[in-house]
Symmetry: C2
C-alpha cells in the first residue's frame, strides 16, 4: 500500500518505538507529527486513539501549528489508565481546497464556473453517504451552487460557515486517507509525575509501629510518598560492620540490602520490624495521613536467603562449586549473591523471572503501589521490559522508580522499557550552567516523552556537593531546586536536620551511614528546617504550574550565582529565583520573556513571594532581585496581573 | 527472543529506518551504535555487512569509542555499489572478562585458583570448536593453567598475548550473541559526494553541437558535471514571452520547461537542438573532456505533449471536460499541465509511473548517468521512493539531484526516499551565523547520514543576496563558499561573467531570463572570473580534505565578516578564511583548535595560501589574518608542519 501523505516524527514516542511513550490520566497530552504531501493541496489530519483493551476510538482534529515545518498537533486527554494506541490519519482536504480556490479566484475577479461545479459535485458526493435531513440540505446546496440566477459570490457565500463545515468535515473519499503506524502510549496516574518523597530506615524508628508514630510529622511536612528501605530479614554471613567495615561486631545490624535470612526472603518481614499485621496497620495509617507507601525492591540475596538453598540454579556458580558473591575485582561484596538472570536452562530463567515478578505482586496484594527499585541497571533490560509489563497489565496504577545512577543511555533505556520515574544526576549538578542544561535535558528534550525525573538532593548513599559539611543555606537552596525544577523530588531523612558529615574526602557515604547502623535523631531540634520544607510543599500543592514537567523555562540574569526559571500552567505563573551561593547575598537584573509569562509590558504586575508573603510591584521585563541566603535561599514568586 | 544486550541508535540511518542511509564506494564509512548490558561484564561487538545481492558477509570489530555513552564504532569500506545490509552483533566477552578479573585480583594479591580454573574451562570449550593444530595449543594451554607447579602469575602470563587473543576471539557461546535489526545502506560512487557542476541552456549555444564547442572552456575551468536544461520539444499553446510575459511574440522561444510538442515529449530532442546523433556526439565529447553529462528531468507537460492525447487519464480533468493546467490560485500557468500521479484507476497509476521511470531508463541507455530533477516536491514521495529504487536496482551508478527549494522536512524526505543529492538553502544564507548554522545542519547533523548538499550560489531562477547588482568581489566570495564549505557545488552559466541584473526588486529572476529567450555571452570578456574559478577547482581537486562532507569545523574569529573553517582528511589540512563583506578589507585574530588541525602548539607551522602562493609562518593558536576582497576574497590555506 502506497502512502499518499507523509506522516513522520509522531510524538510522544520512545527512541526505538518498541515501547510506549508516557502520559498522565486526565492531563492534556499533546500529540504532534510532521505531515505533508506534494503540491499545494490542503490537508487535514486527526489523532485517533483508544485504550488497548477497548474497540472504541476517540478522535481529535489536528491543526498545523508550524506550517514552515509541516508540524501538526492536537491535544487529547486520556480518561483511563494503561496502554493506549494512537494512529494519526491525514487526508487531502478536498473541500477546503475547493473553497480556497474559489475564494482566491473570486478575490482576483476570475471566472469560477468550473470551481462552483467542482464544489457542487463534492457536496453531492458527501450527500450520498449522509442520512436525511442532512442529505436534503446537501442536495439543496449542490443545486444552489449551479443556480446561475445568483452571482458566483452569492453561491460561494452559501457554502461558507459552520453548518457546511460540519457536514463536509472528514475525508470525502476513503482512498485519500493515509494512516500512520500505530504508536503506543502508557497512561499513568498523576502521582507518577507529581509527588514529594520521604525516605527512612524503619529499624531506626523501632520498626513498623515506630514508623506509624513518625507519620504525623512526615505528613505535616507535606510529603506524598513514604519510602521505606528494605524491610526483609537480613543475612548474618559476611555481615558488614558499621561504616562499611568488613567485619561486623556483636550487635551490628548489617546492611538492609543483604536480603534474606533464616526468617525468610523478599516476601517476608524482618522480625525486629514487626509482622504482617503491623505492616497492614502501617499501610492503613499512611493512607489515613494522605500518603502512600513505597517499598524498596533490591533483587539480590544474602548467602542466607532461602532461595540459595531452594533454587541454587538461580545463582552464578564458580568452578569450585561455590556460589559467586558480588565482585567488581578487586572489590568484593561477600554479603551479597547476585541473581543469575540467564541461568543455563530456559525454564530456570522463566521460573526465576516469575519469582521476581511475584515479589512485586505479593506486596501489591498487601497494599503497596509504589516501588523504588534498587540498582535496576544490574539486571537485564529484557527482564524489566517483561516484568513491568506483566505487573502493570494487572495493576496499571503501580509506579516503579528506577534507582540507576549510571551512564545516560542505560538510565534512558530503563525509562524506555517501562520505569515510571528515574533518579537523576541532579545530586551532582551544582553550577548554574549544569543545572540549566541538565534540567533542559530531562524536562524538555525528547527524553521527556518517556522518562520522568525525580530529583533527590541526597540519598542514604550520597552526600555530595555543597551539602558536604555544608551550611543550612545550602540545604535550603538545594531543597528549593529539587522541589521546584521538576514536579517529583525526594529527600532522605536527616535532610531536615542538615546532616552533613561525610564518611571521607574520597567517598560520598555519610559518616555513620544508616545502611550499617541504627540512627537516633532529634527531629524537634531547633535547627530543623522542617518548617521550611513544609512551606515549600504547601506552595507546590497550591500551584499547578509546579506540578508539571515540561513547562520550565530559564530566564537570563547576569549573575552566575542566581538561577531563574518560570513555570506556567494555564493562568498559574510561578517565577523562581534561587541563590546557589550558600554564603553571600546575590543580586541581579532579570531579563524576562513577558509574553511567555503572560504579564503586561506596559503596566505594573505583582510578584508575590510565597516564601515570605512580600508583594513586589514590578513593571517591565527587567526587575531587580536580591537573594540573601541567610534570610531565604530563593524567591518563589507568584506572578499575577493586578485586577482592573 | 529476548535480547541479552541492548543495541540502539545504529548509524548511519534514515529517520524512519525504512529507507537506506548513504555511503560512498571505497571511502571509509563509520558505523556507530549504543551498546550495553547490565553489570560489569565486558562486551565485544562487530559490524557484519554484505551487499544485498551477496551471501558473503564482511565483518569488522567495533571498539568502545565513548565508554561513558556506551558508544561503539567501526569503520568499514564498501567495495561495491548498491544496497547493503548491516547487522551489528554484540556479545558478552567472557574471555576478556576472565582475563580482566585475573589481572585485577593478581594485582591486589588475591587468590585466583578459581579464576584460573574458569580460564582453563573457557579454553577447553573453545578447543572443542577448533581444528588441529590450534586445538592442540588450546588444550596444552588449559593444562598449563591448572599446572600448580608454576605460580598464578606465570599461568596468567601464558594466556596474555596475540596468539591466545586470536584463538579466543569471538563469542564463546552462541547464546551470548545479540543481533541488531538489519539496517540498509546505499553505496554510491564518489561523484555522488564530490563534484563541480556547470549549468547551461543548450539553445543559447546553437544546440548540442554548439555545446560541444563550449566543452574545452568548461572543462578547463575544472568542472566535473555539465548539466543541460531540458532538451526536449516544447509547446506553443499558451507559450510564455520574454521576461515571463503571458503572451509570446513571434519568434519567442518559450520556456524549455513547457515540455512536449508535435515533435515529441520527454524522450525526444527539440529539432532546433539537433538529433540523437548529435546527442551521442555530445555525450562522447563530454566524456573525452573528463566530464559527465546531467539532464534535467521535469515531469510535467505542455498542452501539446503527446501524452495529453495518448493518455488523457494521466492528467487532472475539470468538470467542464478540460484538462487542468497548473495553478496556485490566483496564479495560473497555462503552458503547463501537471501529471496526475494518482489517477482514478490503479492500473493507470501504474502505467504512468512506469512511463515516468522509463524516461530515466531511456536517457540512461543514451549514456546519461546524472539527473537534475526539477521540482520533485510537487510529485508524490511514494513515486520517488519507487522510481529511484527501480532505476538504481539496474543502474546503481545513477545520480539523482533533487531541485526542491521547499520546507525542510520535505527536502529531507526526498533525500531519505532516495535522492542522491539535494539543492539547499545556501543560496539565501549570507550572514556569518546563517552560513555556520546551515552548514552544520547539512554537513554534521543526523541529516548527513542520508542527505548530501549541493551548494549553488545562483541558478537560472535565483539571483539573490549579495549577487543582486553585486560587485565581482561578491561573486568570488560566494563562489569560494560554495566550493569549499561542501564537496558538491554548482553554478549557472553567466556566473563567471558576474551577471547581476535582477528582474525586479520583488523577484529573484534574472532580467532577460534565459528561461524565456536565447542569450549570447562574451566568455572572453576581460571581466570574466573564469581564471579564479579554475584556480579554486584546481585546489579542490588537489586537496582530499575539500572532497568530504562531514569533516568541516568552524573556528572562532572576532569579526562577523570573516568566516573561518577547516577541513581535515588524514594528513591533508585546509583552513579557509572568507571575507563575506564584498566592499571592505576585514582583519581579525583567529582562535584555532590546533589539536583538531594536527598543528604543533610550540613550533612554527606553515600556512600556504593556495590562491596567492604566499607562505605564512604561523605559531600558536591565534594568528592574525586580513582579507582584502579587491585582491582575493579569501585565504585557502594549506596548513603543514615544517620538515624537521
Amino acid at each position: 500500500m502506497l502512502d499518499r501523505i507523509v506522516i513522520d516524527d509522531v510524538r510522544p514516542r520512545t527512541p526505538t518505538g518498541r515501547y510506549p511513550a508516557k502520559a498522565v490520566l486526565a492531563e492534556p497530552l499533546t500529540v504532534t507529527a510532521t505531515i505533508f504531501k506534494e503540491g499545494h493541496d490542503m490537508l487535514a489530519a486527526r489523532v485517533c486513539w483508544r485504550p488497548c483493551d477497548s474497540k472504541q476510538w476517540g478522535e481529535a482534529a489536528m491543526t498545523a501549528v508550524n506550517q514552515g515545518l509541516d508540524l501538526w498537533a492536537s491535544t487529547i486527554e486520556p480518561t483511563q489508565l494503561g496502554l493506549h494506541e494512537i494512529v494519526i490519519e491525514a487526508w487531502y482536504d478536498e473541500w477546503s481546497t475547493i473553497k480556497h480556490k474559489l475564494k482566491a479566484k473570486l478575490d482576483a475577479g476570475q471566472e469560477v464556473d468550473v470551481e462552483l461545479e467542482e464544489a457542487a459535485r463534492a457536496v453531492e458526493r458527501r450527500a450520498q453517504d449522509t442520512g436525511a435531513p442532512q442529505k436534503k440540505h446537501l442536495l439543496a446546496t449542490a443545486q444552489a451552487l449551479r443556480d446561475d440566477v445568483t452571482t458566483a459570490a452569492e453561491r460561494y457565500a452559501g457554502i461558507v460557515g459552520p453548518t457546511m463545515d460540519a457536514l463536509m468535515a472528514g475525508p470525502l473519499r476513503p482512498e485519500y486517507v493515509t494512516r500512520s503506524e500505530p504508536h503506543t502510549v502508557w497512561v499513568d496516574r498523576s502521582r507518577a509525575v507529581f509527588g514529594a518523597w520521604y525516605e527512612l530506615f524503619p529499624r531506626s524508628y523501632g520498626g513498623l509501629r515506630g514508623v506509624i508514630d513518625q507519620l504525623p510529622r512526615i505528613a505535616d511536612m507535606g510529603f506524598d510518598i513514604l519510602y521505606l528501605t528494605p524491610i526483609h530479614p537480613t543475612g548474618t554471613t559476611a555481615r558488614k560492620g558499621r561504616n562499611n567495615t568488613p567485619q561486623a561486631m556483636p550487635g551490628d545490624v548489617g546492611s538492609v540490602y543483604a536480603i534474606g535470612g533464616p526468617e525468610g526472603g523478599h516476601t517476608d518481614i524482618h522480625p525486629d520490624l514487626g509482622d504482617f499485621d503491623d505492616f497492614a496497620a502501617l499501610v492503613d495509617a499512611v493512607h489515613r495521613h494522605g500518603m502512600e507507601l513505597a517499598l524498596d525492591n533490591a533483587l539480590q540475596c544474602s548467602p542466607d536467603h532461602p532461595w540459595v538453598h531452594e533454587h541454587p540454579e538461580w545463582f552464578h556458580h564458580r568452578p569450585d562449586g561455590s556460589i559467586a558473591y558480588a565482585e567488581n575485582p578487586p572489590k568484593k561484596y561477600q554479603d551479597i549473591y547476585p541473581l543469575n538472570f540467564w541461568p543455563e536452562l530456559d525454564e530456570d530463567r522463566q521460573a526465576l523471572w516469575e519469582a521476581c515478578r511475584d515479589i512485586f505482586l505479593f506486596w501489591i496484594d498487601k497494599g503497596v503501589k509504589v516501588f523504588r527499585v534498587d540498582n535496576p541497571h544490574t539486571k537485564p533490560m529484557a527482564f524489566w521490559a517483561w516484568c513491568i509489563a506483566e505487573v502493570q497489565a494487572e495493576h496499571p496504577d503501580v509506579i516503579f522508580l528506577s534507582e540507576a545512577f549510571t551512564r545516560p543511555p542505560v538510565m534512558a533505556k530503563l525509562a524506555e522499557v517501562g520505569f515510571t520515574q528515574s533518579y537523576t544526576y541532579f545530586t551532582w549538578r551544582t553550577a548554574k550552567i549544569e543545572l540549566e542544561e541538565y534540567t533542559e535535558e530531562v524536562a524538555r528534550s525528547y527524553k521527556a516523552d518517556f522518562m520522568r525525573p525525580n530529583f533527590w538532593p541526597n540519598t542514604h548513599d550520597i552526600l555530595s556537593g555543597p551539602l558536604r559539611n555544608g551550611p543550612v543555606t545550602a540545604f535550603k537552596a538545594r531543597f528549593v531546586l529539587a522541589a521546584t525544577l521538576v514536579p517529583s523530588y525526594g529527600i532522605y531523612s536527616g535532610y531536615e536536620l542538615c546532616e552533613n558529615e561525610p564518611m571521607s574526602d574520597a567517598n560520598e557515604d555519610y559518616m555513620h551511614s544508616e545502611k550499617y547502623e541504627i540512627k537516633h535523631r532529634d527531629f524537634d531540634s531547633a535547627a530543623s528546617i522542617a518548617p521550611f520544607i513544609t512551606l515549600v510543599n504547601t506552595i507546590r500543592n497550591r500551584h499547578p504550574a509546579l506540578q508539571r514537567l515540561s513547562n520550565i523555562k530559564f530566564h537570563r540574569v547576569d549573575n552566575d550565582q542566581l538561577l531563574v526559571y518560570s513555570k506556567v500552567a494555564d493562568d498559574d505563573v510561578v517565577l523562581v529565583v534561587v541563590n546557589i551561593d550558600p554564603l553571600n547575598a546575590q543580586a541581579g537584573v532579570l531579563y524576562l520573556d513577558l509574553a511567555e509569562l503572560g504579564m503586561p509590558w506596559d503596566q505594573p504586575y505583582e510578584a508575590y513571594d510565597e516564601l515570605t508573603g512580600q508583594s513586589f510591584h514590578w513593571q517591565g521585563a527587567s526587575p531587580y532581585v536580591r537573594v540573601n541566603p541567610w534570610q531565604q535561599p530563593a524567591h518563589i514568586l507568584h506572578l499575577r496581573r493586578f485586577e482592573v
